[in-house]
């Protein structure tokens, strides 16, 4: 049940009506049931897996918590057991075939007989997202940052809450669970903000991302794209993935808001980042902060020595790449980002000492613009690795781009200008009438809202290219 489908519209309307009509004390149970229905609608066979993850964590958390009365060693064993169980489920479903395939390739390269064995495994929907949520909960409980919840319903709802289960945001229990304790029906303003986010998210997904996807698929479907096509493919995918994923996040946040729950922000104008590290403070924020708090810092962060910091960055970003998908292209993407972040750390002091000429000759705005443009190019090249279906395609696209061969077909720019242009136009038009971000629209004048919503509705309703799945729903 995709957020951009009629089935979801019917489902969400029913949930909304039920939660508004039923007593407050039923809300959590209703939302939990709705979440299971939502998940089961995709494939009911994976519901027991989800329930297992919930139950393991729920019971283990009470033995992991410092106030459990267990010895530190027992707590550690319980914690380790719990983490291993969660990672084993993720590992089995997501990485088995990747590992088997990679071992096979190595054997084949060495000239040995390869087993050619592959397991017929379906990747359970949202497993990467809910596993991270469960890991956060047990880690926070183990560290004493969070008390384990007494109510199984609350914990189950945290893990399986339907707006977030498919592709996040990776909400932390310490943000989510307290909201359930004082769960109220959404107030009128909250409801309007929620509806606004839903419409804006749909616009980004259905109008921008899905239409640009046609161009991107065409480019990445070519065996030998020209340099210009590779460039358009990279830029197009940058726009597509942003509108797809941030559109999904807006939809998730909007739905949750309508149900009285606030979810974390996941994006803050990422393509205006001034450096690679700034990008990760603006892109998929709930994942980047998760990686920082649960991998990078426990590894030692950047505190001990520079080589350690680089090693920790390399490990964290490679794992980040692998988290996105069981494929060498994602690993390469992670390594690329590790190199960018390490490179930025190395170059930053050099730039500070030797950047005098720029500071004296260029105004601040120009320097900022250059930084944004350079960072955006680096990010876009990263998307080219991310979108490629194999290492071979990475090579083809990169060589096409660098050698700049083939014809320049300017008509390829049209979809980018049309769909991306309108998106920017809406944002710019709002800024010119004094609304600095589209997210502040619900608090603006009524007639402005009516005009903007009518425009968004027009392009969302009449320009959809069909219900395309969300990119991040595949992870």
């Amino acid at each position: 049940m995709l957020f951009n489908s009629v089935a979801f519209a019917v489902f969400f309307s029913a949930v909304l009506i039920l939660t508004r009509l039923s007593p407050l004390s039923w809300q959590r149970v209703l939302l939990l049931l709705a979440s299971f229905v939502f998940y089961g609608y995709w494939d009911w066979r994976f519901l027991p897996l989800l329930w297992t993850a919930i139950i393991i964590d729920y019971y283990a958390a009470h033995r992991i918590a410092p106030e459990s009365g267990n010895s530190d060693a027992d707590r550690k064993y319980w914690f380790a057991g719990c983490v291993i169980a969660q990672l084993a489920m993720l590992g089995f479903f997501k990485y088995s075939n990747f590992v088997l395939g990679s071992v096979d390739s190595v054997f084949a390269t060495l000239g040995w007989n390869s087993s050619q064995q592959h397991l017929d495994i379906i990747l359970p929907l949202g497993i990467s997202f809910y596993t991270f949520k469960t890991l956060t909960y047990t880690t926070d409980v183990y560290r004493g940052h969070l008390k384990p919840t007494r109510r199984l319903v609350d914990y189950a709802l945290h893990v399986s809450f339907f707006p977030t289960i498919v592709a996040g945001p990776i909400e932390r229990a310490k943000n989510f669970l307290p909201q359930l304790l004082s769960l109220n029906r959404a107030a009128k303003e909250q409801m309007l903000e929620g509806m606004h986010l839903i419409l804006w998210g749909l616009f980004k997904k259905v109008f921008v991302a899905d239409n640009i996807a046609l161009l991107v698929n065409q480019v990445f479907g070519k065996a030998e794209p020209s340099g210009f096509e590779a460039l358009i493919g990279a830029y197009g995918f940058a726009l597509q993935i942003f509108c797809d994923f941030s559109g999904y996040t807006d939809l998730a946040r909007g739905c949750a808001k309508c149900l009285g729950i606030e979810l974390s922000e996941n994006f803050r104008q990422p393509y205006l980042a001034l450096s690679p590290s700034d990008f990760w403070q603006r892109w998929h924020i709930t994942l980047s902060t998760w990686l920082r708090d649960y991998i990078f810092l426990p590894l030692g962060g950047a505190f001990k020595s520079l080589p350690n910091a680089y090693r920790n960055l390399a490990i964290t970003m490679t794992l980040a790449g692998l988290w996105h998908g069981a494929s060498w292209t994602f690993v390469l993407w992670g390594v690329y980002w590790a190199l960018l972040l390490i490179g930025h750390r190395i170059l930053q002091p050099v730039m500070k000492h030797n950047g005098g000429w720029f500071r004296h000759h260029l105004p601040k705005t120009a320097r900022k613009t250059i930084k944004i443009l350079v960072t955006a190019q680096l990010v876009c090249f990263g998307w080219l690795l991310f979108r490629s279906e194999s290492l071979g395609q990475v090579w083809t696209m990169t060589t096409s781009l660098l050698q700049w061969q083939g014809a320049v077909d300017l008509s390829l720019l049209l979809p980018l200008l049309k769909f991306g242009g309108l998106y920017l136009l809406v944002e710019t038009a709002l800024m010119t009438v004094g609304i600095e971000s589209v997210y502040r629209l619900p608090r603006s004048l009524v007639w402005i809202k009516t005009i903007v919503y009518a425009v968004l509705f027009y392009f969302t309703a009449f320009y959809g290219s069909g219900a395309e799945t969300f990119i991040y729903a595949q992870f």
Partner: protein, 370 residues
């Protein structure tokens, strides 16, 4: 006091609704302007493609609507000269919407694909004209050919019939009487309504759409006498269709051209499955006077007529009905092609034309040898 508040609130919401509708209409007009270079003011609908004059109901020369571009002679496709270029073999495709092309991407309707295939096989040798008119019944095609298409000196005329129109066939094709043109005056036709209709078609579940269509059919039937509905094809209509074909063949051959008939293809196998029933209902909505079984029977009977006439008068027949598999990959609805369906039709016609050309060459060489 309370009533005033209610009135104020109602006025507020009505004003918002009106504003939203105005914005939507403006969006539709700007969208048409930017996408299709359509006029911002005035009418913009598919009716702009058609005209009724001394030729009858046909395509408006230089008409444009969305992806459909009509040339100065009233044919879909690029500009041509009425006089046939030297050494060129002209193929005229005649028919209704299936030939004109509804759902295919621009340039992918079967006449255009046939042109591309012929160009590949015999560069510069063939010119294919798509002279089809959506909605034209067989009884009017003969007249249109006689009064207009003949002037283009075709070598081959391909006729792809539309069986569901044979009920509109008359005993003898009448000479066309020009209709007086009326000044429509100022008319405001909201463009947003068409968008909402497409939105409904795209998003509403198939079952809901079928239910609505069925309701519309029932309503149409209710407003007519009982004998208005045909549950089988009247023999006189089949006979009339047969006569239309004979007349067309005679007219074409009289001008020294070769006529090629085609059987009509459709997506429906038996009409027994839920999906096929839904397709049949959608089909019937276009002509509610024919029951679903009548529509299916019409297909069979017309294809029989086409095949028999082919044998009787030695007219080449391309069996498009068997050339295209009954799959939604090839059909966008019950009878109109997708790009791939049109490609298969074009290939089938290509094979026949090349065969006819080679037999022509052989015949000419035998004649010259004698």
């Amino acid at each position: 006091m309370k009533i005033t508040a209610v009135v104020k609130r109602s006025v507020f919401w009505v004003a918002q609704l009106v504003l939203a509708l105005i914005v939507l209409e403006l969006c539709a007009r700007v969208d048409d302007l930017l996408t299709w270079q359509a006029p911002f003011r005035g009418e913009y609908s598919e009716e702009m493609l058609f005209v009724t004059d001394s030729l009858g109901y046909h395509l408006r020369p230089n008409g444009r609507f969305q992806k459909w571009h009509i040339n100065s002679h009233g044919f879909r496709g690029s500009e041509i000269t009425m006089e046939k270029p030297r050494g060129v073999i002209r193929v005229v495709t005649v028919g209704a919407s299936e030939t004109f092309g509804l759902y295919e991407s621009p340039g992918m309707e079967y006449p255009a694909q046939l042109q591309a295939l012929l160009e590949k096989e015999r560069p510069g040798r063939y010119q294919v004209l798509n002279t089809a008119i959506p909605g034209i019944s067989p009884s009017r095609i003969g007249y249109y050919f006689d009064t207009w298409l003949r002037k283009f000196s075709p070598d081959f005329v391909i006729y792809y019939p539309t069986p569901s129109f044979i009920m509109e066939a008359e005993e003898a094709p009448p000479a066309w009487k020009p209709q007086p043109t009326r000044d429509p005056g100022f008319q405001f036709k909201p463009r947003i309504s068409g968008r909402f209709r497409d939105f409904y078609k795209r998003l509403a579940p198939q079952s809901v759409q079928t239910y609505v269509r069925q309701w519309l059919i029932t309503r149409a039937v209710r407003n007519h006498p009982t004998d208005w509905v045909h549950s089988s094809v009247p023999p006189e209509k089949v006979a009339a269709f047969r006569k239309e074909l004979e007349d067309l063949a005679q007219k074409v051959r009289a001008g020294g051209s070769e006529i090629i008939f085609a059987t009509h293809a459709n997506l429906i196998r038996s009409g027994d499955t839920e999906e096929e029933r839904a397709l049949l209902i959608a089909w019937r909505k276009l002509s509610p006077s024919k029951t679903e079984s009548c529509l299916m029977e019409t297909e069979t009977r017309t294809n029989e007529v086409v095949t028999r006439l082919g044998v009787q008068y030695d007219i080449p027949v391309v069996d498009i009905n068997t050339a295209i598999p009954k799959s939604s990959e090839y059909f966008a609805d019950a009878a109109h092609f997708t790009d791939r369906g049109a490609a298969l039709a074009a290939q089938a016609f290509l094979a026949k034309i090349l065969k006819l050309e080679s037999s022509r060459v052989q015949k000419n060489s035998v004649d010259s040898a004698n």
